[in-house]
């Protein structure tokens, strides 16, 4: 490929990216802006919170517990060499609150719920359900996309809190109940080193990740080619794109928050 071609393809990729961002922005705007019809939309929202949120609780709790336990085990092994095992609590709690909680919860959410959103919207498109809604004078953006988006925005921060709580508890299980650290030391050291700021930052990150994952997943479903291959590509793309964007955004947010 000549230099000219590669510059041209770079430009094409740039234009494609900007177009996608613009389209995704329009989609979200049209889905979210408008007269709220609480009576009609609230039941839809509750149903979607159940689908994307409640059904993700198991995977979040199990992963959180194991990640906390592994952190406890690894942290203990290192800290004990310096006779600093009393700092295990802060290590586990800060690692989870500042990074692992929001990031891993978002990644798990993207795999568990985001992919399902993409596939569902894509299939609704392929089976003409979205078209038929439009022909019935019902806006699918308001009726299908909007409740799913809001459900995700409410669910992921709550899932992140669950992840963090059970993660710290997992660290305590390994550190105190298995390796014999003192409970009191563990908790008081944790309380002394975790600020309110850490918790607020954790929630901010989680909210940003919730927007990213839900937006990307819904957009990929909304614009997918209505074929088997198109839906499978869109689903994979939704998970890959949202995971990468979450990791990128995490770096930016961390740099802003802790620097």
């Amino acid at each position: 490929m000549s230099l000219f071609d590669s510059v041209a393809s770079l430009g094409a990729a740039g234009i494609r990216f900007v177009r996608h961002v613009g389209e995704a922005g329009c989609m979200l705007f049209r889905a979210l802006v408008g007269r709220p019809e609480i009576k009609k939309h609230f039941p839809l929202l509750v149903r979607q919170i159940y689908v994307v949120g409640v059904l993700s609780v198991t995977i979040i709790l199990v992963s959180g517990l194991f990640i906390g336990m592994v952190l406890g085990l690894q942290g203990y092994n290192v800290l004990v060499e310096f006779k600093a095992e009393g700092s295990l609590g802060p290590l586990v709690a800060l690692a989870i609150l500042r990074e692992l909680g929001p990031v891993v919860a978002a990644l798990l959410y993207a795999g568990r719920a985001g992919s399902a959103l993409t596939a569902e919207i894509g299939l609704m498109k392929a089976t003409e359900q979205l078209s038929s809604m439009e022909m019935m004078a019902v806006d699918p953006l308001r009726r299908v996309v909007s409740p799913r988006f809001w459900a995700g925005i409410y669910s992921l921060p709550v899932l992140t809190v669950m992840f963090c709580v059970i993660g710290v508890y997992g660290g305590k299980l390994v550190g105190c109940d298995w390796l014999g650290l003192d409970d009191g030391t563990f908790w008081s050291a944790t309380r002394n080193s975790v600020d309110l700021e850490d918790i607020v930052n954790c929630m901010i990150k989680s909210a940003v990740f919730a927007i990213i994952v839900n937006w990307v997943s819904l957009y990929r479903g909304w614009v997918c080619l209505p074929t088997a291959e198109g839906i499978s590509k869109a689903t994979t793309g939704a998970v890959v794109d949202s995971s990468l964007l979450v990791l990128g955004a995490d770096f930016v947010l961390t740099a802003v928050m802790f620097n």
């Binding site: 003409e128 078209s131 019935m136 004078a137 806006d139």
Partner: protein, 263 residues
């Protein structure tokens, strides 16, 4: 009230570089059944989407009820007009997460705040019309293809539209279902006076109920008239389509380079 419910004026439409319509004009009379026939791939479904305002033409106009220009409507006005029309999709397009009853109730619940008792009565009446009152509790996955299409028809008439657009209603149906659908379309047209546009390539079936028919091919209307006139139509392309001849002006082969050379 104008005599013509939908009129297409000099309409052109292309998807990218692929021209679908090049200056076609058609009119659909109020209270009649009009068929639009043509080989697959000529954009018959696209025509329905243009009438429904889901697609906008590159040039030309779609006039609804005498003075409403569909392509120039804003979203809210378009939705108001769409409440007066409905479309029966080829796949039925039932909502798979709702029962048959809820599917038929869906447009009613969306647009009117009626007591649940009344919704129930209305839905059962619509289902009775298509003979599926007994299937109200089933889920779409439990229906046969023909039943799904009848449920979709019940949903399409839920708001008592003045226009129904049928997209390939007979495609892939067994003879009995086909007969049932033909009877239903005729019944809806005669008893409720619903204007019907049927897009299909099942020539015999569709001509048996149509009052007027168009044959589209190659971006244009190539024949139009009453079913009798259409059958006698002498232009080669229309004749080939109506009588089902494998090769002719509409070629059997997709355009390709020289065969020998390619081998």
């Amino acid at each position: 009230m104008s005599e013509t419910l939908v009129e297409i004026r000099d309409l052109s439409f292309a998807r990218g570089s692929h021209v679908i319509y090049d200056g076609i004009s058609m009119s659909f009379r109020r209270g009649s059944v009009t068929a639009v026939m043509g080989p697959s791939g000529t954009g018959k479904t696209t025509l329905l989407r243009l009438i429904g305002g889901q697609l906008r033409p590159d040039s030309g106009d779609v006039i609804y009820d005498g003075d409403i220009s569909i392509p120039s409507l804003g979203r809210d006005r378009l939705f108001e007009v769409r409440k007066r029309m409905s479309m029966l999709f080829q796949s039925g397009a039932l909502f798979t997460d709702m029962s048959v009853f809820d599917n038929v109730a869906y447009p009613i619940r969306e647009h009117f705040r009626l007591p649940e008792e009344l919704v129930r009565t209305l839905v059962l009446m619509k289902l009775e019309t298509v003979g599926l009152r007994g299937a109200a509790g089933l889920m779409p996955s439990e229906l046969s293809g023909g039943m799904a299409r009848r449920v979709a028809l019940a949903r399409a008439i839920a708001l008592d539209p003045e226009l129904i657009m049928y997209d390939e209603p007979f495609a892939g149906q067994d003879p009995i279902t086909m007969a049932v659908l033909i009877q239903l379309i005729r019944k809806l047209n005669q008893t409720l006076g619903i204007t019907s546009i049927i897009v299909s390539h099942d020539v015999n079936e569709v001509l048996s109920i149509a009052d007027y028919a168009y044959v589209v091919a190659d971006h244009h209307v190539i024949a139009e008239g009453t079913p009798e006139e259409i059958i006698k139509e002498s232009s080669p392309a229309a004749h080939q389509f109506i009588h089902g001849i494998a090769d002719g002006p509409v070629p059997f082969r997709y355009p390709a380079g020289d065969y020998l050379e390619e081998l």
